[in-house]
Structure formats: structure tokens, C-alpha cells
């Protein structure tokens, strides 16, 4: 506790310092002691540390958004063009030519209402799977909870999502589709999409640090996954209950179906399938987070 004495001591031994300062500013006396040592096995998630760094999370998201459309001529219009163009192609080929059913909803609306959450998901997965490698200069220089990096990558897509969603509402007005009170459930389905994207993102980003094969796999993965999700076709094409139950294991099924249900009032009511989707999304997130934490200690050495 002899703080002043210590200062005197160290000043005396530093020859370049001549003037005596007053007692140091009252730094917290009892700072928690941090112990750095080798860890083994599975780590706890330490979400408190992530919470303590929430401002960093906010800044990382903000940077991602701010930089995304810098030096582009079209700017944020890109957020719209991507799902819009896909919708046009789908409408032409699946809607017009292949005559895929769409639960009685005009096919463009049907496709777009699936593509808006899907685009968010696919972009989030792509971004987050590369995010650790892209942040190598941060990871090797500064300590902070690494979980913030993929989280920021996923959440930064919400702005694009909001733009596309607003456009979807405009399209619905053009097609004279009434909103129902079910729309209050939209946030839940957005949250489910975030959980799913983050779960997948955590897994892929952690694997990508060691195995760069991931970056080549992601484009296929998202493409296959899209066709395993009712984007271009309605899930009502599956009739048997057991089929739908298995189908629900794909968490994006719950997201898309729920999205259409709360927005368009489509026939498929969220039931057992949604419950399964939610459970599998949560399982993805929790397992992803633990795996990420386990791999985290090697990131700085491998990235």
C-alpha cells in the first residue's frame, strides 16, 4: 500500500526524470488479477467478456456497413439488386416456365419474400466464414473476445436486409397484398435467421482459420442449402408429416416458412416444423459457439 514510496523509488532509479510528481491519480486499488496460462479442453463461453466489449461490436458492425459500399457507383442499391435480380430469374424460370406452385401467392412476391431472408443468411454465412482470416491483423495484434468478429459480420447484414425488406413491403403494396396482424411475429423470424447464420458462421469461421478449404466450399454450400429450403417452391409440396418433420431440421425452413406466414398469411402455419427448426438453429449456435471458443486459442498462431 506504500504507493508513494514506490513511485519515489522508481523515479530515483530513472535518471532522466528529475521532477517529483504528486501522488498518482487514484487508480482502482483492487483491480481483478488476470492470470494468463495454458487452457485445456472446452472453454466456457464467457459471454460477459463479449458484453463488456459491446461497444467494440457496435464499431465493428459500423465499420463493416460504412466500408461495404465505399467507392461503388450504386452504393446501397446493391443490397436490393442482389435479391431482386435473383427474383427475376426465378420468376421467369420457375414461375413462368416450370410452373412451380406458390401457395396461391403471385410468384414474384413468393420468391422475393423467401429471397430477402435468404440473401441475408447467405451473405452472413459468406462474410462470417471469412471474417477471422480477414481480421488477421486484429487477431494477431490485439486481445478482445474473438466472438465479436463473426457476430459483427452477421449483424452487419441487417442493414441490407432492412433495405430489401422495405422494398418487399412496397412490392406487396403494388400487388395489393394486405398485411395482417401476424406481422408482429416478423422479429422472431429475423432473430431465428440471425441465430442460424451465426451458428453456421461460427463453425465455418473457426474451421476456416485452419482449413482454408472452407472459403471454396461456402459458395456451393449456400447454393445447395438454398434448394434445400423452400425459396423457389413451397414446403406444402411435401405432404407427409414425417417428411415435413425432417425438413424442419434445416433451420432456414422455419425462417422462410415463418416469414411467408407472418407476412403473406400463406397456408403453412408454423407448427411442429417451426419448433424443430428453432431447436436445430439453437443447437447450431450453441455448438458453434463452443467449438469456436475451443479453437480460439490457436487463432493467433494459425491465422
Amino acid at each position: 500500500m506504500n504507493r508513494v514510496g514506490l513511485i519515489k523509488h522508481s523515479m530515483a532509479s530513472t535518471e532522466t526524470l528529475s521532477k517529483m510528481e504528486t501522488a498518482p491519480v487514484a487508480a482502482a486499488k483492487t483491480l481483478p488479477v488476470i492470470r494468463v496460462e495454458a487452457s485445456t479442453g472446452w472453454l466456457r463461453l464467457d459471454l460477459a467478456a463479449v458484453w463488456a466489449h459491446r461497444e467494440l461490436l457496435y464499431f465493428l458492425i459500423w465499420r463493416e456497413i460504412k466500408v461495404r459500399y465505399k467507392q461503388t457507383a450504386l452504393g446501397a442499391i446493391w443490397a436490393l439488386l442482389q435479391p431482386l435480380m435473383t427474383m427475376l430469374v426465378f420468376t421467369l424460370f420457375f414461375g413462368r416456365l416450370a410452373k412451380v406452385p406458390s401457395d396461391g401467392i403471385p410468384y414474384p412476391i413468393f420468391a422475393f419474400s423467401g429471397l430477402v431472408p435468404w440473401t441475408f443468411f447467405a451473405n452472413a454465412v459468406t462474410l462470417s466464414s471469412n471474417c477471422l482470416v480477414n481480421s488477421a491483423n486484429l487477431i494477431t495484434k490485439v486481445y478482445f473476445p474473438r466472438l465479436t468478429i463473426p457476430t459483427a459480420a452477421v449483424l452487419s447484414g441487417l442493414v441490407d436486409f432492412a433495405i430489401a425488406f422495405a422494398f418487399l413491403l412496397l412490392m406487396m403494396m403494388a400487388y395489393k397484398i394486405r398485411l395482417t396482424e401476424q406481422i408482429v411475429f416478423i422479429p422472431f423470424f429475423v432473430l431465428l435467421a440471425i441465430i442460424t447464420a451465426l451458428g453456421v458462421g461460427l463453425w465455418l469461421s473457426a474451421i476456416n482459420v485452419k482449413y482454408r478449404d472452407v472459403r471454396h466450399t461456402v459458395p456451393f454450400l449456400t447454393q445447395f442449402w438454398m434448394f434445400a429450403t423452400p425459396i423457389v417452391y413451397p414446403s406444402s409440396m411435401l405432404h407427409e408429416q414425417w417428411q415435413r418433420t425432417i425438413y424442419g431440421l434445416n433451420p432456414m425452413v422455419g425462417v422462410i416458412e415463418g416469414f411467408r406466414w407472418s407476412l403473406l398469411g400463406s397456408a403453412t402455419k408454423p407448427g411442429i416444423m417451426l419448433a424443430i427448426s428453432t431447436a436445430s438453429a439453437l443447437a447450431l449456435l450453441v455448438s458453434g459457439a463452443y467449438y469456436f471458443r475451443r479453437m480460439e486459442r490457436t487463432f493467433a498462431d494459425l491465422v
Partner: protein, 419 residues
């Protein structure tokens, strides 16, 4: 009793080096096939594929609050590894570090700076990455901007900044962080003299006025000497000496330097493919070599190196370093006019440089060889490989009969002008 700020106990960090050259990243297919073959053959991967390398081993020491600790050592001594462990970027393999409070590292300033963002935006972003709260950054914003001296360019993307401005801004953010322990790695290598002074002042302030601990890793001996009260000398991952800066510095410079006037490189690896430093030798104009030289004779420094191809940007030279670690001067062969540059040969080159008689003052000096690619990077930055003493003997005047300050003692021509 004094307050211990950092306790390091038996710290070690092991890296695995794979011997297959050019295989930086692991391939999923390899991992899978290895895993399968391991399952099938029930055997562990043979140990000769992977070499273990201890970047740090059995390091133990303590620092007190308010210490400015210098960490010195040659390249590869484990200095940066230690900072990485302390700042929790990577985990130790053995042992532990205990400290309390917030650590900020300037391992490489400007971490997280985004070139497309403006100076103002980067201050907030960088501050957040270093662990500052928004209110804290806002409170210190003006100080940071003043310190960096970039007021007019606050809203310009930093990609348009000069490297000096970029550096200053980056350092300013980090320097204003309220930390209990500040880690600084070689920042002083960049920036002009004025800014360096500012940085040193800031580090003093952090350590002395606020009673915080500063850890400073550097090759710059004068900076270590003027900043640090304690110094840790690492070599090949282990502690060689720890104590007061003066003691450690003098033993550091003396240690590992040859005092026979001849130094032969022990490490046969090329510093870069095709370039290999072999030896540095010193003798006087009469051909005598050893520990002591008379200042009235020319000193001849011979650098021997091997090239497997000629390199247009190659600079070969050395520093003459004084006993307290300051550089007396640096010279390169390429300092001469271009038309007299020495011709590089494929194979062994022996280049000599003559330090004229009557230049150096009496005292102890070191030769530190330097080989660099011009404007690209330094390849050889070895410190103090040869130690030698100069006996002042060129002063012919009866009035010059005692020691003088300074590291050079040339006799200058004088003349009177008609008034």
C-alpha cells in the same frame, strides 16, 4: 514493500514447425486422410515430421508498478512472443503471467485502422478495438487530435494520409488509453525526431505521473537507456539478464561480441534466399587486429558475404555503436557515388571499408553489421558483433592532453578571415 505489477512464472511458448517447406496452411484433405490413416494404422503421426520449437522457455520475473521495463535481445529472442502472451493474443504452453488491470498494446500501432474511413472515424474505431469506451474517446478526442497534429485532415480517409501522419494518429489513440500496463513494440522506429520526443514524453508520463507500468521492446539501445529503469535481456527464448538498465545494457553489448577483431557468423542460414553473411573482421592499417586500436591508424572493417545472384538494391554496411548503445554513425558501401560502387560477385564477396585515422574518440565501440535491400527491408540487423577499444593517439597538440566528450574526435582545419 512495493506493489508487483506483473508476475511471470516459468513461462514457455512452444510452436510446432512442419518440416515440409512451403506448407503453411493445412489442407482439409490432408487432415482427413491423415486422420483416417491414423485410425486404420492406430499410430500417432511420426514425430520427425514436426519439430518443436520453444520461442520462450522458463521465463520468470516480476515488475513493479511504475516500472518502465525494457526488453532487448536479438531477432528471434522471444521478445514479440512475450508481448503476445502478455497481451493475451496467444496462449502460453507452460507457466503463467499474472497482472491486474487493463493492458494496452502498441504491438503495431494502427491496428484496425481502415484505409477508407476518415481520421475521425478511425479514432473511434481504433479506440474501441483497444478497449476504450465511447465516452472516454469523446473526452480525449481533442487531446488525441492535438497530439497527432492532424486537425485539418480529420475528415479525410486515412488512405490519403502520409505514413508519418498515419503513425502519429495511431500512436496518439493508443497513448491516450488509460491503461495500467502499456506495451510498446518498436514504435519509435517510425516518425520524425520531434514526434519521437513526444512519444517518449508520453511514455514517461504514463509511467511516472500515473504510476503505470510500461513495457518497451526495442532494438534502439539509446531509447531503452533513456526510457527504462529495468531491462530484461532475452536470448533464444530464455532470460539472460534482468536488472537495472545500465547493468543489463552493458552486459548485453559486451556479450556475444567478439573482442578479437574477428566475428564469424554462427548461424549458417541465409538471411534471405541467396544472401548469407559470413564474417566481419577488423584490423588497423598495419594489419594488426585484436581488442585495442590506436586512433592514429586507419581502421579497416571487412564484411564477407555470399551471394547466389547479384541484387541491385543490396546495401552492405555497418553501424559503429558507442559503449552506451548510441549509434556513432552508420555507413553503407552505397553511400559513395554510384559510379564507384563495388561490383557484386556471385559467390563470396569481401568488401572493406576504411574508417580514417583521427575520426573516433577514445573509448569502447561495437561494430553492428547491416545488410539491407534499399527501401525494402533490413536483412541483417545484428547488434554489436565486434567489440573494440580505441586509444586516442592522434592528438598531436600539446593542448590536447586529456579526454574529450563525444564519440568522434576529428581534428578540424581552422583559419582566420581578414576583417
Amino acid at each position: 514493500m512495493s506493489e508487483i505489477a506483473i508476475t511471470v512464472e516459468n513461462l514457455g511458448k512452444k510452436y510446432r514447425i512442419r518440416h515440409q517447406a512451403g506448407r503453411g496452411q493445412t489442407n482439409l484433405r490432408e487432415a482427413l486422410s491423415q486422420g483416417v490413416s491414423r485410425l486404420l494404422e492406430m499410430k500417432r503421426p511420426s514425430s520427425d515430421e514436426v519439430e518443436e520449437f520453444w520461442a520462450l522457455r522458463n521465463v520468470s520475473f516480476e515488475t513493479r508498478r511504475g516500472d518502465v521495463l525494457g526488453i532487448i535481445g536479438r531477432n528471434g529472442a522471444g521478445k514479440s512472443t512475450f508481448l503476445k502472451l502478455l497481451s493475451r493474443i496467444t496462449e502460453p504452453s507452460t507457466g503463467s503471467i499474472e497482472f491486474s488491470g487493463r493492458i494496452a498494446s502498441l504491438l503495431e500501432v494502427g491496428t484496425g485502422f481502415h484505409p477508407e474511413l476518415s481520421g475521425r472515424e478511425n479514432i473511434f474505431l481504433n479506440g474501441a478495438i483497444l478497449g476504450m469506451h465511447r465516452t472516454e474517446i469523446r473526452r480525449k478526442f481533442d487531446d488525441i487530435v492535438n497530439f497527432a497534429g492532424v486537425e485539418q485532415f480529420l475528415d479525410t480517409p486515412v488512405k490519403h494520409y502520409s505514413s508519418g501522419m498515419y503513425m502519429r494518429l495511431a500512436f496518439a489513440v493508443a497513448a491516450h488509453l488509460d491503461t495500467d500496463i502499456l506495451l510498446v513494440d518498436e514504435v519509435l522506429a517510425v516518425g520524425d525526431a520531434d514526434f519521437q520526443k513526444k512519444c517518449i514524453g508520453k511514455m514517461h508520463e504514463v509511467a511516472q505521473e500515473h504510476g503505470r507500468t510500461v513495457i518497451f521492446v526495442s532494438h534502439n539501445m539509446p531509447a531503452v537507456k533513456s526510457l527504462c529503469n529495468r531491462t530484461l535481456h532475452l536470448e533464444r527464448g530464455s532470460v539472460v539478464a534482468y536488472g537495472s538498465t545500465e547493468e543489463v545494457l552493458s552486459s548485453y553489448l559486451a556479450k556475444g561480441s567478439s573482442n578479437s577483431g574477428k566475428w564469424i557468423c554462427e548461424d549458417p542460414r541465409p538471411v534471405q534466399p541467396g544472401i548469407q553473411l559470413l564474417s566481419v573482421e577488423m584490423e588497423d592499417s598495419e594489419g594488426a587486429s585484436g581488442m585495442t586500436y590506436f586512433s592514429s591508424r586507419d581502421l579497416i572493417v571487412t564484411t564477407t558475404f555470399r551471394l547466389s545472384a547479384t541484387i541491385p538494391s543490396l546495401c552492405v554496411g555497418f553501424d559503429i555503436v558507442t559503449a552506451d548503445g548510441a549509434t556513432a554513425f552508420r555507413c553503407y558501401q552505397t553511400d559513395q557515388p554510384e559510379n564507384v560502387w563495388l561490383r557484386q560477385k556471385v559467390g563470396i564477396n569481401r568488401w572493406t571499408c576504411t574508417i580514417p585515422a583521427g575520426l573516433l574518440n577514445g573509448g569502447t565501440y561495437y561494430v553492428s553489421p547491416r545488410i539491407a535491400l534499399h527501401n525494402v527491408k533490413g536483412l541483417v540487423m545484428l547488434d554489436a558483433v565486434i567489440q573494440f577499444e580505441v586509444m586516442l593517439s592522434h592528438g598531436v597538440s600539446p593542448f590536447w592532453n586529456r579526454e574529450r566528450p563525444g564519440c568522434v574526435a576529428p581534428i578540424m582545419p581552422w583559419s582566420a578571415q581578414e576583417v
